[in-house]
Every structure is written in structure tokens, then in C-alpha cells.
């Protein structure tokens, strides 16, 4: 039971962060989201795309299914904000945000307790034998922190 509880705590935390991120993104006018958080640094636009790309990539990383928008990885993970690559519009990204998270959360909610403690796909069997913490639970926890980090930044665009 405690085991189950620990999973619930981590998953609930991630879902809570996603929810407050969605709220923030819906409150921010599109024009504000397009701005750099501070001069010369990432824009809200880039960070929005970055979070979608990272979370979409959790689908294959956790062995759940293929990612929905693999093309976002080039623009929002491999390249920095001012790469010159064309970004999807804010409206399109907001739609992808909803889609990716609905799918991701549904998949995460269907995992059994055992599956949460299985290795993720970027770890070899050999490494997992000596590093048993490199499992799905750890990935979700680490992505929660990553999400909070960037949401703290996007929140600065609020007037």
C-alpha cells in the first residue's frame, strides 16, 4: 500500500503542476507569451514548445507509445530559441499541449505499480541492475521539477 501511495504522490504532483501550468498559459495573452522572459533569454513561446516537446518525448522514453509530434524536438529541444527555425503558432502549440498531456496522463494512470518501477527505455539492462532507481517513477519526478523550473520563468510574464 505504501508503495502505491508513493506512486500516487508523484503522479498527483505532476498532474497538479500540469494543471497550474495550463491555467497560467490560458491566462497569459498571446502577445505576452511571445515575449522574452528577460531580454536575450528564452521567450514564453519557446518554453511552451519546449515543455510540449519534452513531455511528448516521455511517451517513447517510458515505453508507452510513439510521440505525437516528434518534429517539435528539433525546434524546441535540439535548437535554442533564436535558431531561426520556424515555430508553430501559440494557438497550435496550445492545442498540442492539451493533446499531449491528455494522452500522457491517461497512459501514466493505467500503469501498474510494478510498471512504475520498471526501467525506462534509455537505460540498458546492465545499468538498470546496478541503478534500479532509473525507472518510470524517477522520470516523472524529474520532469515535474523541470516543468516547475520553466513555469516559474513563464509566470514572470504575468503583468
Amino acid at each position: 500500500m505504501d508503495n502505491h501511495l508513493a506512486i500516487k504522490i508523484v503522479l498527483d504532483g505532476f498532474k497538479r503542476s500540469l494543471k497550474s501550468a495550463s491555467k497560467l498559459l490560458n491566462e497569459l495573452p498571446e502577445n505576452d507569451l511571445l515575449q522574452e522572459i528577460v531580454p536575450t533569454k528564452n521567450s514564453g513561446h519557446y518554453l511552451l514548445g519546449h515543455l510540449i516537446a519534452v513531455h511528448d518525448n516521455m511517451l517513447p522514453l517510458l515505453g508507452l507509445r510513439d510521440s505525437l509530434y516528434p518534429e517539435l524536438m528539433e525546434v524546441f529541444i535540439k535548437k535554442p530559441d533564436k535558431s531561426g527555425l520556424l515555430k508553430p503558432s501559440i494557438a497550435q502549440l496550445k492545442q498540442q499541449w492539451e493533446e499531449v498531456h491528455q494522452l500522457l496522463v491517461t497512459h501514466l494512470e493505467s500503469l501498474t505499480d510494478e510498471q512504475w518501477f520498471e526501467k525506462h527505455t534509455a537505460v540498458s539492462d546492465e545499468d538498470f541492475a546496478t541503478e534500479p532507481h532509473r525507472n518510470r517513477l524517477n522520470v516523472v519526478l524529474s520532469r515535474s521539477n523541470h516543468l516547475s523550473y520553466h513555469i516559474g520563468q513563464i509566470s514572470l510574464l504575468r503583468k
Copy 2:
């Protein structure tokens, strides 16, 4: 074993975030830390004190011991940045940062698996009976996200 592993994952995540926060704080010149992250918003100075105050308060909240610097709560939690209240210097806060975290991590590392799943001190027995996730593990997880949120902001002070 999986239970133990879940605790290790949450605690290691918190320790990793603290470590990278310490690195950032040590790299930032004092003059930069004194600046507002963006005009009219919190300064690095305030956020540093805020994080110390919140983490210091985890000691009593988790039933570990009294907090070391309860006076920080007034300046950095109850009041906003521009309250007019005198803030301790950056040098003093950096020393308190080290002290509070060394003590907190030592206490957290000494908790048994059972103790991690016990309720924290701000929950009544009645509430805990129906909300068993309001335990120490949940507090540390939620403080990890809170830390990441503000570290994402402080990181914007890097030139």
C-alpha cells in the same frame, strides 16, 4: 524494497535540486543576486531568503526539530519583497542556506521508511485517516517543485 526505492528517488531528487541551486547561488555575483529578476518582481535576494525560510520551516512541519531561523518567516514568507522590512545580507543568508540544508538533509536521511509515510504536523489525525498522502514524502516532493520553480527564476540573473 520498491517502497524504499520510491523514498530514495524523492529524496535524491530534492538533494540534486539543492545541489544545483547551491552551485547557481555560488556562481552569481552578489550584485546580480540583489537585482529584481524582472522589473517590479521579486529580487534574487528575496527569493534566496524565501527558499531558506520555507526549507527551515520544513524542520517543524516534518516534526524533526525547531526551525533554526524562525525570524526569516516574517520577512520572506509572510511579507512580500518590497515590504520595507530589513533583509539579512546575502553573505549571511548564504551561510544560513548551508546550515539549514545540512541539518535538514541529515534529518531526512535518518528517517525510516515508515516515518516517511507518517503524517506531517499540519494534518490532523482525522484528516490523515481519509487523506493518507499528506505525509512527509509528499511535503518533500512538493518543496522540490517549489524549489525548482524559484531556481528557474533565479537562473535568469545569470549573464
